[in-house]
């Protein structure tokens, strides 16, 4: 019915004639800005990925898909891609589940809500690079708080950031810690908008346990929020860079090499801009896929009018 109303919107005389330039004039500034700031740079990166350009070099030549061919044959790239996917695979479920759990707990409690909300949100607001330094101290093999605690309770201390089997998971844990507060806030907003009457109806209908109510109402009603949170978390964890840069520099033995770090190292340490651009394009493809999923599903609406 809303659509019917929309089609009846009266047409301003300025727009009435086909081929009038007015619409283009009005949309122009926004379009130009988008072109200059978003589409343009992406196109430049795409072009760059087909060249052998090196940062600061006076000239460059087009080399076709050689960069991509090299990428495909490079062990480090595959390692980096695998690490990134593993990182995303751990951080997304972790940050979503913890965010939802924290939101449910805070919403069900009566007191201290604002306090808990603020506490869990602090890591989101803090600069991750600064937080990374705090983590570095905590994770220090000799005098780090974590190892000291583990020693005190009789566990074997670990060399967290220098152990190839551990480092990536430590970074993932920091990623979850950093991200779940944001998800929590989104989930809390979703929880508040669930009508209370539904829970009362569920109680009358015989949903006795908290689990019943969660399955019957909370989870389905949070569907749209969950979808959004998952996609946003995935995009954010694909972009993981600052903790890697501050804590491990991709090591030990490339155990924490991730896409953006590879790109950074190739582009700004080895100055191979063309090759770095190719890595960026691969990264962008993943982000684009996620964005497309989000647009698709959210447009189809996981919710119920």
């Amino acid at each position: 019915m809303a659509d019917a109303a929309l089609t009846y919107r009266p047409v301003h005389p300025v727009f009435a004639t086909r081929g009038s330039t007015m619409p283009y004039l009005l949309a122009g500034p926004a379009f130009l800005l988008m072109l200059a700031l978003l589409i343009g740079p992406v196109l430049v990166v795409l072009l760059l990925s087909f060249t052998d350009y090196q940062l600061g070099a006076p000239a460059f030549g087009f080399i076709g898909i050689d960069n991509y061919r090299e990428l495909a044959g490079e062990r480090v790239f595959w390692k980096s891609l695998g690490n990134t996917l593993a990182y995303v695979g751990v951080v997304v479920p972790g940050a979503v589940a913890l965010g939802l759990g924290a939101a449910l707990l805070i919403e069900s409690g009566r007191s201290w809500r604002a306090f808990y909300r603020a506490i869990y949100f602090v890591p989101v607001m803090a600069t991750l690079i600064a937080m990374a330094i705090a983590w570095e101290f905590m994770l220090h093999p000799q005098f780090g708080l974590i190892n000291l605690t583990m020693k005190a309770i009789g566990l074997t201390p670990q060399n967290w950031l220098n152990e190839p089997n551990l480092a990536l998971w430590v970074l993932a844990t920091i990623g979850i810690w950093q991200g779940f507060g944001f998800n929590m806030v989104l989930f809390m907003a979703g929880l508040v908008s669930i009508p209370r009457h539904l829970y009362e109806a569920a109680e009358m209908d015989g949903a006795r346990t908290a689990w019943d109510r969660f399955c019957l109402i909370t989870w389905p009603m949070l569907g749209p929020v969950t979808m959004f949170v998952v996609v946003i978390s995935a995009i954010r964890s694909f972009q993981v860079f600052d903790t890697v840069h501050a804590l491990t520099k991709g090591g030990p033995v490339k155990a924490t090499e991730v896409l953006l770090y590879t790109m950074y190292a190739e582009g700004f340490e080895f100055l191979r801009s063309g090759y770095a651009a190719a890595v960026t394009v691969v990264f962008l493809v993943f982000v684009l896929i996620l964005t497309a999923i989000k647009a698709r599903v959210l447009d189809r609406r996981v919710h119920y009018g």
Partner: protein, 385 residues
Amino acid sequence: MAGVDIEQIRKSFGSTDVLKGVSLAIADREFMTLVGPSGCGKSTLLRIIAGLERQDSGDVRIGGKSAGQRRSADRDLAMVFQSYALYPHLTAAANIALPLTMRRLNAWQRLPLLGRLLPGTAAVRHGIAADVSRVADVLRIGHLLQRKPAQLSGGQRQRIALGRAMVRNPAAFLMDEPLSNLDAKLREHMRTELAQLHEQLETTFIYVTHDQAEAMTMSDRIAVMMEGEILQVAAPDVIYTDPVDLRVAEFIGSPKINVVPATVDIDGRLRVGAARFDLTVTLPPGNVVRLAFRPEAAELDTSTAATMAGRITFRENLGSDLLVHVQLDAAPDPVIIRLPPRQRGLRENDRIGLLVPQEQILLFDQEGRRLPALPRIAMREPAYG
């Protein structure tokens, strides 16, 4: 099927006493309506019966058994909410089936996909589907079962909500203003339908509304609530013709009952201006009482001493009746009378006389309590004339 007894229920929110010791015995299979203005505590009382709100003191007995401390799910009641409270992600069929799936299947059997593989699930689901279609037949909503609530109109959602309540054969139905979100025409239609449904289901209905017309048309008995108390519990007829309190008289009936001040004369008879009634009360002369009569009780008449004179200030022609606002000479506020359409000739500013038959007059004291109207049959009149 069971009666519901409410015993001395008290409830306050902060410093506000919402219910001040309410008792009410609702018989098995009765259609009981709780009616009152907003804020009178009727919804709170219903929620306490449902177990959605906990009373401060008192008890609710369902089928003779104390239920005041039991949780909602264990009270065997079904409720229809004002907002319908349908589960938006489930189809109409799944909504109606829900009270049964919650009770007949265990948590494992309710799991999607996996639950279907467990032994016994299929048979139970089959039984539930049969019950749902039985209810759908009664409510004539078979064609809506596969739709989601967002695809249904207000009236259709209302029926689905009713179906969800009916499917389980509960001890009693609780309804919290279920018709107030419908448009006027549909509301009138649903009034009839609910009353018929009540006869068909032979179950106790407890119905909350602020609409006195709903209360009058559907109920076996009405409980009129005001300020956290029940003022009167009686059949609609009795509430209308024999209210115990002026607030009840004023709340029930549209247009509102007319109230004019009357003085007790020196001979004990009541007087409104020049009009003298052959009625008396047990109050000494000089006291003022409130004389009330329904709009349809007054007749046009100028012949007797009991005629109250006044001037027409406004007339509303409803087609079937004529409502005439009359400013009486002896009363501060205008009264409204209902006349048959043949009186359409009356015009504004016409002077008329009103006669109210004695048996139609209700008397109340200054606090609004009902006073018995005693006939004063010409005792002081000289018999020899």
